[in-house]
Symmetry: D2
């Protein structure tokens, strides 16, 4: 049962701003891209409109703290960790670390974020309602030990 996932990604020109660094809002897009890669790796949908089996993960909250800026062409590892698994929700923690020219991940965390997402499905009227995380999904998720992301 996986409790983490890693995405490697390079800062694009369109993601920078006039201060010469990656715009702070793009860290949230990167977190979601990492989450989507995690679900793909488990053969689970981030979103599905299949009738009778609609599933989505709308965000309840999102946050990020920024330690060092990222610049154009920086290659970065985004590491996802499952911080908390609730009946109807999951909390992901994300750590951003730069990679050096040899492809090694540097130890410093340049940014750290969280996304809390609630599992929803469609009721008979098509309205989105929170649901317990389906057993088939839950079976593939496991919280990471705190030691994985502290100290």
């Amino acid at each position: 049962m996986p409790s983490e996932f890693r995405l490697v990604r390079t800062v694009e020109f369109s993601e920078t701003d006039m201060a010469g660094i990656m715009h702070f809002s793009n860290f949230f897009r990167w977190m979601e891209a990492c989450e989507a890669g995690f679900y793909r790796s488990l053969d689970l949908p981030l979103i599905s409109f299949v009738p009778g089996n609609v599933v989505g993960w709308p965000r309840v909250s999102a946050s990020c703290s920024y330690k060092q800026p990222l610049r154009f062409n920086d290659t970065v590892e985004v590491r996802l960790l499952i911080k908390e698994l609730r009946t109807r929700a999951v909390v992901f923690l994300f750590q951003f670390r730069k990679m050096d020219a040899a492809g090694q991940v540097r130890p410093a965390v340049v940014a750290q974020g969280e996304i809390a997402a609630v599992c929803v499905t469609a009721d008979a009227a098509g309205k989105m309602v929170a649901q317990p995380i389906p057993a088939a999904v839950r079976a593939k998720l496991e919280p990471a030990p705190a030691s994985a992301y502290t100290a």
Copy 2:
């Protein structure tokens, strides 16, 4: 019958890039925002999922030529002109002009773009198919005379 529309908008920090200017992709988002304002002003939907009356305007092509850069906090008029009205499609032309501190539009066109959009609806199976522009929509649209945007 209107043949044009004007949107005033200020360049945001998140729309700039590390070259210190508005990223070229954002001009396309502004064109679409102007188009959406135009449809709103006519009480017409840019997109509607109402069953039996689904309508959308997927893009067939889009282009922009850039004469002068836009910078953070520049206030700009985007002027939409209907360039061409076909059976199933409409071609919009957009002119970008900076405004001065007094709110007057400067004559120089800093960028000029086009969007060609085809009118679609949903067939019985829910698939998007091109349709003739509905009469109620067409009745509100009129091509601008070429003199409005040349010379």
Copy 3:
């Protein structure tokens, strides 16, 4: 001395995602746009590269909690409140509320966010360093009473 600011804005098509709602990352772009409007209203720069007077406000942290989704063409008031004023940093709180067709702000807060930004300038070598908020800037800022944004 102002302690708050209000921005009115309409959700754009390009800001929606395939779930049919405004993408959660765009709330952060809206917060920053509101902040920029606030600084403009005070005739203060959000960012300035004027030699000898470089100023910027890089983000230290950002967060948002989402109560209700926003949809295409929703018109929304973003209300900025100064939550905290530190020697070198400011913390803004943002409340998102939908407006009705008559232009009245509805009471429900659909999203609430925070941005903490640190004041920086350039040292002799051109490197960004935190600085105390300049007196001329501080003179224009005042924390909002907690009563302004609670209960």
Copy 4:
């Protein structure tokens, strides 16, 4: 001397819109990402602020035609071809093709775009001015034969 480059990329959730497809403006961001990858592969900068050797490639024009939509999680090959090499400018052509589950590129071009970019440097006053493409850059670029992208 390379005349083409290929980038493989997967559509992200944040790149979709409420019509359920990749927003048309994002094709331009992908073209630029492909261009940046091309320059990286040649060890050439897309943008450089090194004093005495400032180089940039502001866009003169950009266009795209859309044949088929792209959807969340579609994996796509973006193929860059040098269409034209002028004294001070380069014109890139980009073809988008979906990849199948086995990683094979499908023959159909789902979108095709162009970017014309002019080579600039900074004059003594720091102002951007067009310059002939430096010999060291030009030596690494070669127009693709038309047969590479037609028929």
